[in-house]
Symmetry: C2
Subunit: 383 residues, 2 copies
């Protein structure tokens, strides 16, 4: 987003849209920055393989953006973030030189691994023009469960049980508060259970073996849960996933959404939820906590909606104050105030209160080293 | 290794040997740099979990060294290198400041991911004093196969077949030439087959599910192989692994070993083996090619032994010339001249012929930025 100076330009890479190579034996694909994520997924699928990055915007977002933001999404638990899926990069540096680092290698210990500087740098260190990405074996079996839980503690225990038994089969573990699900149910979705429950989890297992009995593995791991539904087929699985995927949109009908995207260690999640919830309820009695997220990664989208019947403007005006409560709590548990969403311009100042000074200094030094004239996405990430 | 100036010191971190924390629910362990790798493995095992880094020196090598060299080993195919197993670092910078980056988070998009600069930097940018490492569910089933193959092409095809079926269960795929295995057999090991075969593979599947029928999965994937043995139990599996693990030592009895550690894209492995073998045989008629390695990662330990009956000194004297043949071939396939072993001092000059100038420049700039006085492991990695 350019500032108001009239001296900034936006660089579109959407014409860099070539898939340069797909190498099934090496499990790699080489793509230009403007290729749409869904097209990479489709190319992999066409070769019987999987490109696992998956997120709501996959039909329009591009690989260059996924790299610049180190995108996460729904399968990080098993496959990692975009950083973990990248073997090599081609980059135009701020001084105009091109670094051809498009290596398709899983091991290369010949000096500093510089590509990681550019992934997640939000375009502030150079322009990524192409990348070599890793592919995985295609998925041929899937099981989906919708689980009712008494507490976040029970959810953390359940993750441990499912991981211990299912191992790498566990690709998705999403937690949702009743409040979050209630918003979605108001849009006409059906509640899989007769009674309301305080917390829900969406759990998915996948496998490369077509005859893998994932339902039995899921069922065996389900101790300590209040209730559970196993999807009988793809349609029911999609309906269960819809309850999770509909939260963000459903929240928009409830007044302003104050959104936060944090990670804490998974073990600290129950205490974080309790501590932060109490602080927010004290600050705004009646506040609705739309707590949900990729809990298998320790990542919560900790969103807030106003108390029913109160005014939009008054609630929105308290955004900074309430964010501060969420971020202070996150920091007290050793967490991150931006798990997936980056710093951009809105958090470039805020992060200075939460990151060690040494690290902020190093970031600034790296920025000035690579981009001394400050040409690349000025005003973002580093100050 | 210090130079002859008498002005360099070696810093030992072996007294930094505390395991600071083990968090089973978060699947993380926080350890100091002097902790021995086997002790980390044991601590994880004690919690029913797995720390997957595994290599020959695990009984004596330390986590600090594993991080400084971005260690690989036998399970990279599934779990990645040390870089992929690291969530956070604590580092003493060359200017004496301590960066506490010991975050135990799987997602954190709040600026540049600086830890990757230090992993694999061989101590040239600072001193790593502690790390947060990721743990995985414990392994409860294992299947091991020893396979005879007609060619590297058949090996590459087999990797594809096994991965497609077994997915993440495939943790090890090692390829060996007959020459490599013959050296081991001379030490009294038993050949699992009656007839010699030109190539062999060691394939291992693992699973978290104790009753997983991995033998059937392995058997189903074994098309296009000349012969195969499935280990009937742990003792036979250990014997088969011994054939692979004994190569390096067995080669020492055959005169000087000229060792190379390269990666190429897996798809290029057959052409690389053919091309490089022909060039070496032309340079040294009768040369023995001890070709083996972690082929599931595209990584070959491409070692050379002298022709039988020829002199040690004359062969050793040609080390640079023969390395150049191997490295030129590697580069022509887009490979790396050091997959696991780093640059150290022996390859710091050599790499200048194989890495893009832009990248070498960036490495030098980063070194001068962080360590302007050149205090950290001087003369190594960058010039």
């Amino acid at each position: 987003m350019p500032d108001d100076s009239g001296t900034q330009v936006v660089l579109s890479l959407t014409r860099l849209r070539r898939i340069r190579a797909l190498d099934p034996a090496n499990h790699t694909i080489t793509v230009e920055a403007g290729v749409v994520l869904a097209d990479v997924q489709a190319a992999a699928r066409g070769a019987g393989l999987l490109f696992p990055l998956s997120l709501g915007a996959e039909g329009s977002c591009t690989i260059g953006g996924n790299l610049a933001t180190n995108a996460g999404g729904t399968a990080v638990l098993r496959y990692g973030t975009m950083r973990d899926l990248t073997l090599g990069l081609e980059i135009v540096l701020p001084d105009g030189r091109v670094w051809d680092g498009l290596r398709a290698l899983r091991k290369d210990n010949t000096g500093y691994d510089l590509k990681h500087l550019f992934i997640g740098a939000e375009g502030t260190l150079g322009v990524i023009t192409a990348a070599v990405l890793t592919l995985f074996p295609g998925i041929r079996a899937r099981a989906t469960a919708w689980v009712a839980l008494p507490s976040p503690r029970a959810a953390v225990d359940l993750i441990g049980q499912v991981r211990a038994l299912a191992g790498d089969r566990l690709t998705t573990f999403e937690l949702m508060s009743r409040q979050a699900v209630e918003f979605v149910l108001r849009n006409g979705n059906r509640d899989p259970f007769r009674e309301p429950h305080p917390w829900y989890a969406l759990v998915e297992l996948t496998d490369t073996l077509p005859d893998s009995d994932l339902d039995s593995v899921l069922a065996a791991a389900m101790t300590g849960v209040t209730d559970a539904v196993l999807a009988a087929g793809p349609a029911q699985a999609a309906a269960l996933r819809g309850l999770r995927e509909g939260i963000s949109e459903a929240q928009n009908h409830e007044g302003p959404s104050l959104k936060h995207d944090v990670t804490v260690p998974i073990s600290d999640l129950p205490a974080f939820v309790e501590h932060t919830g109490a602080a927010l309820r004290k600050a705004v009695p009646g506040i609705r906590l739309v707590t949900y997220g990729h809990v298998g990664d320790g990542n919560l989208h900790y969103n807030l909606s106003k108390p029913p019947g109160s005014g939009d403007a008054a609630f929105a005006a308290r955004a900074d104050e309430l964010a501060r409560i969420v971020y202070d709590a996150t920091a007290s548990f050793g967490g991150s105030i931006s798990a997936e969403h980056g710093l951009g311009q809105s958090k470039t100042e805020t992060i200075r209160d939460y990151k060690p000074t040494v690290e902020l200094d190093l970031m600034g030094q790296v920025k000035r080293l690579l981009d001394p004239a400050g040409l690349m996405n000025p005003g973002k990430v580093v100050t």
